[in-house]
């Protein structure tokens, strides 16, 4: 398979939604060759002042409002997207305000928050939009003055006439400018001339998050709003047989108890909702609700049986033609298996959503990653025209992929429709942690052969996991469907090495289970990276080569070589002592390339601890270096948890871990010093929010091997167990 330049998740969406409102074309990156439908010279309730473009509004006093058309879940879009507009518009970020755009693909373009796509996907379009707006304002000013446009320039929210230094502020120009057609051609600024892009401009959402005023989904209230909590089966896909709500209805404030359902891929999951005037009353009602469940005909999933299935499936995958011959010819051969667990997203803000459903319209408020998808999904399921489905984004208390799934808005809408009032559905932490969808665990068998020069001659990767796509269209019975599986699951697995290794074989097997699975920060790369970069390290050891030099020899791409060389510099790699506990790994996903080097040491108490992490991100052209550093720091912490602290396991068809007591998180005392460096180059903008995660686990495992000789091939592991 050739590496794809589009998000695999979008590909999956398209594959499932063919014929529906969302198409692949709508999710393709804007290529900058066409302008968005941006002329909208009408007042919009969300835009104070005159809307010059979909994203830009200026009031007569010159106050600029820039729209953030994608959700903000911590990754910095709220800052980074307007920074691009402001740069070309020639306004200071200090003078703009930012508003969330409601779901409106015609006006704001597609709004899914996934695939580390915000900057890399939107840069061409937003830069052009800002530049068009600037040129329209210049055109009006030059006409007012009766001077050629080329004698005018824009700076700091005003148009200036260079020869006379006359100026007109944007507020005085905007109404006329809004009546113009945007120019077909605009000249974008040179990178060297940027005032805002490339600078660590402070995030405008941060002051809202330090005084308690940021409105997250759970903080939003509507007049007359009810609260609901839902008793859902802890087993996946059980149905409600009957329920006894007599005690629940006696709790003061409880108004309704009703059966509900939630679409999870191609299935519905059922539950019983307790609706009350306050959240507390709803929680009390739920405590005394009695529900009996009907288990449909499936084997209750357990981690032991899942793992057995994955190991068996690995054995069934056949090598691609000719591979075995090349492998057998190798002077040295190595085979190793790697195992990674299921994980929960566990955003700090548990799932929640407000719905207000009327006979002819739906309004949603909530922490959502996929405003357009929710809009289309609810329109279809409730048979309401899409233009009458409004989805408002609040701040998200974390997302990591989970809030990109439209199940919880549907559930809220269903209840609102039944009780004919706005309702906020609140998931408890236990609800959030046990319902999934989860990141699937993935098991691997890798084989590599070295030639007489100790170079990799043949490389094979076999993977067994639950493929996310299989839950939309369940695979036919029979042997694992390697062909369809192979379409999407190799994100983050070896693409940079493919140029440097002569013979490859890939194979995958879908594992079937009722456990719902979905994308989790960095998706398949979060597990693929561990297997691949651990195994490359094993091959380097087999070859008797330095791990960085070995990688460099197999990565002919100049960009990778520069990355590896810079990492060697930053870590003093070539002057480090033998077996001093350094390990490194490099992965690529969503067009961002990241390397981590981890240093471990044995403390006086005999325990191995992480001393330092050096991260090096190559995301090409970038907007805000401080947001990049923050994202990489956060990715490392998240990866540290997934590698050494927590996992979701299943017994009797249920997730075992229900809250942070059994699914512990990394805490401040667990965090080693982290340095983040950014490569400076003129490559296209790459992903940032996810690519910083996958290299951590293999870099740590490689560091432990370097220090102790012990190979980590299964996650999670405890640092306390390293001898």
């Amino acid at each position: 398979m050739e590496p794809q330049d589009i998000s695999r998740r979008n590909f999956l969406r398209q594959a499932t939604w063919s014929g529906a409102a969302l198409t692949l074309a709508a999710y393709m990156p804007a290529n900058g060759s066409t302008l968005p439908e941006i002329v909208n010279p009408v007042m919009d309730e969300y835009l104070p002042g005159t809307a010059l473009m979909s994203w830009i509004s200026i009031d007569p006093a010159g106050k600029v409002t820039l729209m953030c058309n994608r959700s903000e879940m911590g990754q910095g879009t709220f800052q980074a997207l307007p920074q691009m507009l402001a740069e070309e518009l020639e306004v200071s970020m200090d003078d703009v305000q930012i508003a969330f755009a409601p779901a409106n693909p015609e006006k704001y373009g597609p709004q899914p928050q996934e695939g580390s796509f915000s900057v890399r996907g939107w840069a061409p379009r937003l830069l052009r939009a800002g530049a068009c707006a600037r040129e329209m304002l210049i055109a009006v000013a030059s006409a007012e003055w009766g001077v050629p446009q080329r004698e005018c320039y824009a700076e700091n929210g005003a148009v200036w006439h260079k020869p006379t230094m006359k100026k007109l502020p944007y507020g005085a120009l905007v109404e006329k400018a809004a009546g113009l057609q945007p120019p077909a051609e605009v000249t974008l600024k040179k990178r060297a001339d940027y005032k805002i892009i490339g600078k660590p401009a402070p995030r405008k959402d941060i002051p809202l998050k330090t005084n308690g005023s940021a409105i997250f989904g759970l903080d939003k209230k509507l007049p007359g709003m009810k609260y609901a909590v839902i008793e859902r089966s802890k087993r996946f896909r059980e149905t409600v047989k009957r329920f006894d709500d007599s005690a629940a209805r006696k709790i003061p404030g409880v108004s309704h108890v009703l059966k509900v359902k939630r679409p999870v891929f191609s299935q519905y999951c059922e539950g019983v909702a307790v609706v009350a005037d306050s959240l507390w009353a709803a929680i009390q009602g739920r405590k005394v609700l009695k529900v009996e469940w009907d288990a449909p005909d499936f084997e209750p999933a357990g981690t032991a049986s899942l793992e057995k299935q994955m190991r068996e499936n690995l054995g069934k995958i056949e090598s691609q033609a000719g591979f075995e011959h090349e492998y057998q010819r190798c002077k040295q051969q190595l085979e190793a298996s790697y195992e990674t667990p299921y994980q929960s997203h566990s955003c700090m803000e548990p799932l929640n959503c407000i719905a207000d459903v009327r006979s002819d319209r739906i309004e949603i408020w909530g922490p959502v990653q996929e405003a357009n998808w929710i809009q289309a999904d609810l329109s279809q399921r409730f048979n309401i025209p899409i233009e009458r489905v409004t989805v408002h984004m609040t701040f998200l208390g974390g997302g990591f992929g989970r809030k990109g799934f439209p199940d919880y808005p549907y559930e809220a809408a269903l209840i609102s429709k039944e009780i004919q009032a706005p309702v906020q559905v609140v998931w408890t932490r236990e609800d959030d942690m046990t319902a999934g969808p989860f990141r699937p665990g993935a098991f691997y068998t890798l084989k590599g052969g070295l030639d007489t020069q100790a170079r990799i001659h043949a490389f094979q990767a076999k993977t067994a996991t639950q493929w996310i796509g299989q839950d939309w269209s369940p695979a036919p019975p029979g042997p694992p469907d390697a062909a369809s599986y192979n379409k999407g699951n190799f994100e983050g697995l070896l693409p940079p090495y493919r140029q440097g290794i002569p013979h490859f074989s890939f194979g995958g097997a879908g594992t079937h289970s009722p456990i719902p699975v979905m994308w989790w920060r960095s998706v398949s790369a979060s597990t693929n990276g561990f297997a691949c970069e651990s195994f490359i390290d094993e091959l380097a050891h087999l070859a008797g080569a330095d791990p960085l030099a070995f990688r460099r020899a197999h990565l002919p791409n100049a960009r990778y070589q520069a990355l590896i060389d810079r990492m060697a510099e930053l870590t003093g790699w070539n002057s480090r002592a033998q077996n001093s506990g350094w390990g490194a790994a490099f992965t690529e996903c969503f067009t961002g390339i990241c390397g981590h080097a981890v240093k471990v040491a044995r403390h006086a108490d005999g325990k191995v601890r992480i001393e330092k992490v050096v991260a090096l991100m190559d995301c090409g052209w970038y907007v805000n270096p401080d947001i990049i550093r923050a994202q990489v720091e956060g990715s490392i912490v998240m990866a540290l948890g997934a590698a050494t602290i927590h996992a979701t396991t299943f017994e009797d068809g249920k997730a075992v871990q229900q809250n942070f007591d059994t699914y512990p998180m990394p805490r401040i005392a667990d965090i080693p010093p982290i340095e983040v460096h950014i490569m400076e180059n003129d490559e296209k903008p790459g992903g940032v929010g996810e690519p910083g995660l996958p290299p951590f686990a293999p870099a740590l495992a490689n560091a432990i091997f370097d220090l102790t000789g012990q190979r980590i091939r299964r996650l999670p592991f405890s640092l306390d167990d390293i001898r």
Binding site: F216, F395, T428, R429, P666, I671
Partner: protein
């Protein structure tokens, strides 16, 4: 339902609530201050941290009936304009990402600095280990606490 007199951020409130109702829901849903967050409900994550007489408590697991006369301070009570030194330090170090846990982080840090004007790493670990941040802002939290400490020197 019993009635309780509470002092929150220097203002007096009378609320009617079940005696077992956690202070968190009283603050959020009865008084309407939503800066204090629900994260786990079992005092494991610290998102709900408020001060009772200046000491940090996990309001999700603290029944309203146990508050008594003790004054309650929430994130909103530090300052609305972000002028509190810890808020200033949080902005200076650009700590929050999603921001959901940060009210609790800040309340824990304020309590730490009230008792230790110059906390070292060990003191920071001890005081802040009850607060989870899923975005992983811990390195910046550590830095911001030291920055806040430097403001008073």
């Amino acid at each position: 339902m019993p009635s309780y007199q509470l002092s929150v951020n220097g203002k007096a409130y009378t609320v009617e609530a079940d005696e077992q109702m956690p202070l968190l829901w009283v603050i959020r849903d009865l008084i309407g201050l939503t800066g204090t967050k629900y994260g786990c409900g079992i005092a494991q994550c610290g998102a709900c941290t408020v001060h009772l007489s200046g000491a940090p408590v996990r309001s999700c697991s603290f029944p309203v009936s146990a508050v008594g006369e003790q004054p309650v301070t929430t994130i909103e009570g530090l300052s609305e304009d972000n002028s509190h030194p810890v808020q200033r330090a949080w902005i200076a170090e650009q700590v929050p990402q999603c921001g959901y846990c940060q009210s609790g982080q800040i309340m824990s840090a304020v309590a730490l600095l009230a008792g230790n004007v110059n906390p070292d790493d060990e003191a920071i670990n001890a005081a802040m280990n009850g607060n989870i941040c899923r975005c992983g802002t811990y390195p910046r939290i550590r830095k911001a606490i030291k920055t806040a400490a430097s403001y008073s020197h």
